[in-house]
């Protein structure tokens, strides 16, 4: 019974932690949209704009990646740890 509760709680927590994926999605979409505008205005600067945009996207992505790491920990590591503590 306790094990089932632990598994369920970890799964729900993993699902909730992936809400962190919303932010980077919006942010990266905005950044890419702005980059498209910049390229449309100045097509000769395409190379610089693209590499800067990719770098910015990678940095904006890190919060989403933190959420993913927490979710992976909750699914693969946390249940074993908590069940081990049950004794």
């Amino acid at each position: 019974m306790e094990q089932a509760i632990i598994y369920a709680a970890c799964a729900i927590g993993a699902g909730i932690s992936m809400i962190a994926g919303v932010g980077p999605g919006i942010g990266e979409g905005y950044a890419v949209g702005k980059a498209c505008e910049a390229i449309g205005r100045q097509p000769e600067a395409k190379k610089d704009v693209t590499s800067t945009m990719l770098l910015g996207c990678a940095i904006a992505e890190s919060t989403g990646i933190y959420g993913l790491v927490i979710a992976l920990l909750l699914i693969f590591v946390a249940p074993g740890m908590f069940i081990g503590n049950l004794g």
Partner: protein
Amino acid sequence: MKVEITGAKIFFTIPYLNIPITETLVNAWIVMALLVAACIWMTKGMKVRANTKKQHLAEFLVNTVNKWVLDNMGERYAKSSFPPFIAALFAFSACSSLLGLFGLYPPTAALSTTLGWSIMVYVMITYTNIRTNKLSGYLKGLTEPVALLTPLNIISEVSTPVSMAFRHFGNIASGQVVSALLYGALLMLNNALFGWLPGALGQILTTIPIAQIGIPAILSIYFDLFSSIMQAFIFCMLTMNYISAAGQTD
């Protein structure tokens, strides 16, 4: 049906020292051996005027990396021993992630590999910072703009290597997890489609998973090819940006 998502397998443990030899370690050494072999092969029998394909390729690679470092960090670093470091980092990272294409466990899908690289880069950043601004300047930089923000500055110092490592690890590992889940789902679909067929026909069609053909390849283009090259590029780009920012006097 069973979907197996595991970390690196432990092959054996060195006795007394208690060091586990994992798939990560073995595959990383395979990649290193391949890269060293490629370097030796390409630089063997070089001439002043390039007349072989491999020498043209080697010169192209070296020139590309030199120009890349020159564009991002300026003249001083492009002349130093920095481009070979970036080239090695990029090649190691990209080739490790690309191992996933061959069905091997990519070393970058383990946090220990990427955390090792990012700690190495962090040491280089801090060393450059201390060498440029002296120790007093570095410590003073932590208390800016007001002394009250020192704890937050220390947290942001620590978060640099952590975020670099997690970004690389998360992208590659999530690709592995999503691919494994997709394979499991397609196996279930295959069983649902053909499982009801009577007799030997149904048995043959369920043992050969036909639904798994083709569809994972499309996902693999993103997760294995695009993502691994992209993450190697971003890791090197961030390394260069951080180090050149640390090398600037204010």
